[in-house]
């Protein structure tokens, strides 16, 4: 399917249904890949939300933000504070996390969107690093600095105490009216929110608003001479994507109720850029695929250590096994970012449209073999990175 077609809502509903089925049955079909445990699947969902939100900004308007981790961090801190002060129920945590990130995005966007291109990226990066340093040092009373913000037995939890819920013995866990935010139930909470987020994101893609955002990316100059003020559009896209990041951050706190400053560091901002580009910028499900793939491989590769490697290469003679293992060792475990960097380079050079471009190239290859006479027509249509 090409970017240039106007898709009917009916097709979108079918697409939504398929996506929901695929997501909700993840614990089953991820089994053979060894990825069906709740922690990892929660991450798929959370970083999926983060990435689709980021795609609203980067994919639609083309504005490359290097500071989205700041919103993720704000979401996490807010959620943990909501657990501490109000209630262990996830609903207030998610609402406050999302709204506060939105406000934060409004402030950062107000300044950063005065510039475009590289200057915009640098401004967002500067803001995110500022937030990180503030969280790390100056704002210690709010963020608990280096240690990170954690739950305590003695937290007020006003609403919980009012309704007679008292934590006894162990620390309480975040819950949705008794459904715990950890384990499989935690995954389903994340999955439900991801699907809701995705639905809204789909509507944005298909709406006149989304078309105008894409028009801004395509030719901002023409947009001005067409009677649109681009600033409010960019601002809205920026705030929406900030809120998605805030929601993702709150969910991180739901599944594991602590928040640290490192969540706001530039590497975290870079990760979501990477996820989006790897999956396919501006495509619908590209960012979801990117999030899944990166989190999956991060998990697999990080698990390797020297002993595992030596075992794997034990078929080689001893004098060879050690150097080979230590060479490969550079790319796994702690060094898995090296692998990620290499893969990323290959993608950007050979498949600038990301995985989605790869998929649409493959499908074109298959369909073109059937009817080579329509080739010329196809060429002209230039079906860029498949939208669905």
């Amino acid at each position: 399917m090409s970017n240039t077609k106007i898709v009917s809502p009916k097709k979108d509903m079918i697409f939504m249904a398929i996506l929901s089925a695929v997501v909700l049955t993840m614990p089953l079909w991820l089994q053979p890949f060894g990825a069906a445990y709740p922690d990892l699947m929660q991450k798929f969902m959370i970083f999926g939300i983060f990435a689709i939100g980021y795609n609203i900004l980067f994919g639609l308007t083309g504005y490359l933000s290097f500071g989205h981790a700041a919103f993720l961090g704000v979401g996490s801190y807010t959620a943990v504070w909501s657990f501490k002060l109000l209630s262990m129920n996830v609903i207030p945590a998610l609402i406050f996390g999302t709204v506060l990130s939105g406000l934060f995005a409004l402030a950062i966007g107000f300044v950063s969107l005065r510039r475009s291109g590289i200057y915009f990226s640098i401004l967002t990066l500067a803001f995110a690093q500022m937030s990180y340093n503030l969280a790390y040092s100056v704002l210690t009373p709010i963020t608990n600095g280096e240690t990170g913000l954690q739950l305590e037995q003695a937290d007020p939890r006003v609403l919980d105490r009012m309704s007679g819920i008292v934590a006894d013995g162990s620390l309480p866990t975040p819950n949705l009216f008794g459904i715990e935010g950890i384990g499989y139930s935690g995954f389903y909470i994340c999955a439900a929110l991801m699907l809701i987020s995705f639905f809204i994101y789909l509507r944005i893609f298909r709406s006149p608003f989304g078309l105008k955002l894409r028009a801004i990316k395509s030719n901002q100059n023409r947009m001005g001479y067409t009677g649109f003020s681009t600033r409010p559009y960019l601002m809205t896209a920026f705030v929406i994507s900030g809120m998605y990041a805030g929601l993702a951050g709150s969910l991180l706190a739901v599944t594991d109720p602590l928040a640290g400053a490192e969540r706001m560091q530039w590497t975290a901002s870079g990760e979501v850029v990477l996820i989006t580009i790897l999956g396919g910028v501006g495509t619908l499900i590209g960012p979801l695929l990117g999030a899944g793939i990166i989190k999956y491989f991060e998990n697999i590769f990080s698990a390797f250590n020297d002993t595992v490697l030596l075992n794997a290469f034990s078929f080689l003679p001893d004098w060879l096994a050690h150097p080979v293992a230590s060479l490969v060792g550079l790319f796994v475990g702690e060094g898995w970012h090296l692998t990620l960097g290499l893969v990323f380079m290959l993608i950007v050079i050979f498949l600038p449209g990301g995985i989605m471009e790869g998929i649409s190239r493959l499908s074109r290859l298959v369909t073109n073999r059937g009817k080579s006479d329509s080739h010329e027509n196809k060429e002209k249509e230039q079906t860029s990175a498949g939208e669905v």
Partner: protein
């Protein structure tokens, strides 16, 4: 309402020490086609940029009917009813032709900003039919789902015309609408512009091609070195010795 739709009064434009426009007075009657001609570097595009709000004049003012345009942003001026095509077509290359024409139609309906993502593009029948109608008008309907960036230059130009026409502008500015076009493309464009003229749309057109100018214009202003040296009907301008001099006795014949 004054009898002129466009009223440019005493406009100067300086770039540092360079005076690009000096003492420009230009009045365009509603429903006419006014051509601005002149040698390269005469300040034609600068004048257009002043009218659409891309450049602020150093002195003077621009009126659209009774509304002051001077000091307004390009998008505000567009919303007041001024559309422009550029020397190099400014379109949305990554969108389909149909989407290209739909965007300005939304601008006309929704104003400077509207956030609306409840309704899908698919159910915007009115806008889509309007856009399809426009594409048919300029002869591009067969390519409506193609990417605009993949079209030829002539097609891009016609697409840009369709985008502007969809806004029903009070004043339509065209900066060399046939530049770099093959002869048969030029003739097609002239036909199109003539048809638009019949609808009573006021146009200001900058053009080098005298064939185009004399087949379209009701009045002509000749710009040379930032000043208007002559204004009149095509007949008057053709016979004016100053014009011949400005063109070194060349093209005007």
């Amino acid at each position: 309402m004054s009898e002129y739709i466009l009223d440019v009064t005493d406009v100067d434009k300086n770039f540092g020490g360079l005076q690009a426009l000096s003492d420009i007075n230009l009045r365009v009657k509603e429903g006419t086609v006014h051509a601005i001609i002149g040698p390269n570097g005469a300040g034609k595009s600068t004048l257009l940029n002043v009218i659409v709000g891309r450049l602020a004049p150093s002195r003077g003012r621009v009126l659209l009917g009774d509304q002051v345009l001077t000091g307004k942003e390009p998008h505000e001026i567009n919303q007041l009813g001024v559309a422009r095509v550029f020397q190099t077509p400014e379109i949305f290359p990554e969108l389909s032709l149909l989407q290209n024409v739909m965007v300005p139609a939304f601008a006309k309906r929704e104003g400077i900003f509207k956030m609306n993502f409840i309704k899908s593009l698919f159910s915007e029948n009115e806008v889509r039919e309007h856009a399809e109608h426009l594409l048919e008008d300029v002869g591009l309907i067969d390519h409506k789902d193609h990417l605009a960036g993949s079209m030829s230059r002539g097609d891009k130009r016609r697409l840009e015309l369709a985008m502007c026409l969809g806004q029903h502008p009070k004043l339509f500015l065209l900066d060399e609408p046939t530049a770099g076009m093959a002869r048969h493309d030029t003739n097609r464009t002239i036909d199109l512009l003539k048809r638009i003229k019949e609808r009573g749309m006021t146009k200001v057109i900058i053009e080098h091609d005298m064939h185009v100018v004399f087949s379209l214009a009701d009045r002509i202003s000749v710009l040379a070195q930032g000043a208007i040296i002559c204004e009149g009907t095509p007949e008057e301008v053709r016979n004016d010795p100053r014009v011949k001099e400005a063109y070194l006795g060349g093209e005007a014949e």
